[in-house]
């Protein structure tokens, strides 16, 4: 995700064209993170829309002391977790089958370093993450994929940092077992 500072600043000043540019530049990343947390495309699309509506209100709070992408990931995971909570209160969990993840097309990367091999590893990693229970999946996505800190993860999930760490370790252990063949070959 690459958003010029000038676009962010213009958004903060209420420039609507700049906001549309921001949506265009970041909506696939917001959607991807949402999908990896909530586990199905419909809910991910809903979360993505809600994130940008929330951004209208909160973008002024971005002060540039963190990377914009990290800040946006934080806002996104927050909205995604809220949706998961709502769903679990109503006892509904809709998830794609892990094998369906390999069918999801990725956005063509402009980065030539992203090879076909990485794309197929991507599909297998996504499938493995999707097969984890929700609490493990959420924490692996937030910490290991999107690089959020333990403190903010614990805060968002309303658990202690120690508990977040234990949960993350369990998730990594499961992933290693699930992906053993790939990891050994890598």
């Amino acid at each position: 995700m690459d958003v010029p500072d000038s676009v962010i600043k213009a958004c903060q000043e209420g420039d609507q064209a700049a906001f549309e540019e921001l949506i265009r530049l970041t909506h696939a990343s917001v959607y991807s993170l949402s999908l990896r947390i909530v586990g199905n495309p419909e809910d991910a699309a809903e979360v993505t829309q809600d994130v940008f509506i929330k951004l209208l209100r909160v973008i002024k709070q971005f002060r540039g002391d963190a990377k914009f992408s990290t800040w946006l990931y934080r806002v996104t995971s927050n909205v995604a977790i809220t949706l998961l909570r709502r769903r679990s209160r109503r006892n509904v969990e809709v998830r794609m089958e892990p094998e369906d993840w390999s069918l999801l097309p990725a956005v063509e990367s402009s980065d030539p370093a992203v090879t076909a091999e990485q794309h197929s590893l991507r599909a297998r990693l996504d499938a493995a993450i999707a097969s984890l229970p929700e609490d493990h999946r959420t924490i692996v996505v937030m910490k290991d994929v999107y690089g959020l800190g333990f403190d903010e993860i614990a805060e968002q999930l309303k658990i202690q940092e120690g508990a977040a760490r234990v949960r993350l370790f369990r998730a990594r252990q499961k992933l290693r077992v699930l992906l053993r063949d790939e990891l050994a070959a890598g």
Partner: protein, 137 residues
């Protein structure tokens, strides 16, 4: 070292591998890694996992084609609504001060009006009473 002791050492060492970070490993775990190839292999797998997971953030999944248009529309709608609410709030703010000020003036006016009414009522009542008395009589 006995086979059993070695298995225990491996199990103990491996509990720490999911931390990914070798800086968090105790000297005992590091010493064990020096002499145990199986554990080195397992740790290497965690490292590949770590790198793979981190690389995922750079690979976006393709959103449905309608999503961009829908977000843009919903955001424009939300922005319009926000603008209306803010404008209304501003006007209400102005209206509220005007009302308070006017109410202040009105109160003076109302006060005098009430005074007049009481006076007028007293006058009328007195008159009608007298009149009533007159009628009754």
């Amino acid at each position: 070292m006995s086979e059993k002791a070695e298995v225990m050492e491996c199990a103990h060492a491996r509990e720490h591998f999911p931390a990914f970070d070798q800086k968090e490993f105790s000297p005992q775990v590091l010493a064990h890694l020096e002499r145990c190839e199986d554990c080195r292999t397992q740790l290497a797998e965690y490292r590949v996992l770590q790198a793979g997971l981190a690389s995922l953030a750079d690979i976006d999944l393709q959103p449905p084609s309608w999503l961009l248009g829908t977000i843009t529309e919903r955001v424009a709608e939300a922005a319009r609504r926000r603008a209306v609410i803010e404008e209304t709030r501003k006007q209400l703010g102005r209206a509220t001060t005007v009302t308070t000020r006017q109410f202040g003036e009105h109160r003076v006016a109302a006060g005098s009006a009430l005074g007049l009414a009481v006076l007028a009522g007293a006058v009328l009542f007195g008159r009608s009473k007298r009149h009533g008395v007159k009628v009754a009589a």
